[in-house]
Symmetry: C2
Subunit: 211 residues, 2 copies
DNA sequence: GCGGAACCTGAATGTTGACTCATGTTTCAA
DNA sequence: TTGAAACATGAGTCAACATTCAGGTTCCGC
């Protein structure tokens, strides 16, 4: 919601960011280190000292940039949301119609998850660590998605239905596929998985009519 | 996986359960209390003393029945798995075909989530607290589900496709719908939601042919 | 080459909470 | 009735951090 759903950095609730180049560099290193540590060990298993060590700064430095452990975490979730939205809208922007956009979207999503495993885990864990941030993440997504579906239905590109329900079902499908084939089985063929998934989303389970 | 995927109680890795009636009663109270506390506050916010207080027993008693905090948690996940499977197979057992079974299943699932919110949260948090238990939960589900789809495809009741992908997409859809309409918006009309969801799963997004 | 703003530091503090254990109490078979 | 197995207890132990703070260091305009 609110202010900075803009683009990339998202150092969030920081009192008006670093003033110098040195400061910006340190902030970036802390954010990166936090993403990797939280992603690898999880929120509760990660100590601030793990983050500062990985970032190569002193323990106290962390609190120059963040008010608390939870604050970095929230900043990371917001950052991940912005990045995911960006990757998806890029991948879909040339789609000739909505069904094709679904195809492209699911594929891009799987690839994105695979190349951002750590941050993906952070987002999922946010459900328990920062529920507000988690709900925002999906709320923003679902609102954009729902609007796409509504417009596509008006154009006759998709059937009409309860878009709120559809959007959540589709987000859930993508999320689980991301977990299973993007994180757990990262050797799986992304192309094949996304084709199969898109086919299900577009045509459903019903047997094909013989024409 | 392993041993006790049997039926209901699942006091799990306990050294050969309680011997007396008194003991069984205490164990049950501890499990129930743990489910409620973990469900309400989450794993890390819940102290063993919260559980024992709710159960009305002394702190030390907890360790008569469980080796650790994590062990109760795992027992609860396993218990929830067994109960969910039971509820679903019951709801679906009279379905005339697979598409109808999908309809009934999604509805039963939403209702089950709504009446077991606490344990539902426990299962989701298991992804971070007891990853092994979480994967088992979905692995068992997906294997049964996949077999159902395969058999239904052989009967011509559903189209054929990559069942591994389909199953995970469908489980993801149900899970998200459970979260959104079962936990977050527990006032929503379950009947309407499950109809819309089943329609999407069965027919997909593609526009209906005019016949 | 000074003064202060921005930045950096890590030892010390304080809290929290899982788990232990020495000591009871209850149950019940013999 | 008795002894021991099963069960119950909660004060005390102990390690693990998150966060603070008092005192540096670096940078830069003047």
């Amino acid at each position: 919601m609110s202010q900075h759903s803009g683009s990339a950095p998202a150092q969030a609730e920081e009192r008006s960011g670093p003033k110098t180049e040195r400061g910006r560099r340190t902030l970036r290193r802390l954010l990166d280190a936090a993403g990797e540590e939280f992603g690898a060990r999880g929120y509760h298993e990660t100590a601030i000292s793990n983050i500062t060590q990985r970032a190569g700064v002193g323990l106290g430095t962390f609190y120059v940039y963040f008010k608390s452990k939870e604050e970095v975490f929230r900043a990371l979730v917001a950052d991940m949301g912005a990045r995911t939205r960006h990757a998806l809208s890029e991948s879909v922007k040339d789609a000739p119609n909505r069904l094709e956009a679904e195809r492209l979207g699911i594929r891009a999503y799987l690839e994105f998850v695979r190349t951002h495993k750590s941050l993906y885990r952070v987002v999922m864990e946010a459900q328990f660590v920062a529920p507000e941030a988690y709900r925002d993440y999906y709320r923003v997504f679902s609102e954009a998605y729902r609007q796409q579906l509504r417009q596509a239905a008006a154009r006759g590109e998709v059937s009409s239905g309860d878009d709120d329900v559809r959007v959540w079902a589709l987000m859930g499908a993508s999320t689980f596929l991301g977990l299973k084939f993007g994180v757990w089985e990262d050797g799986a063929d992304v192309g094949a998985v996304s084709e199969a998934a898109a086919d299900l989303m577009i045509n459903g389970l019903a047997p094909r009519l013989k024409e």
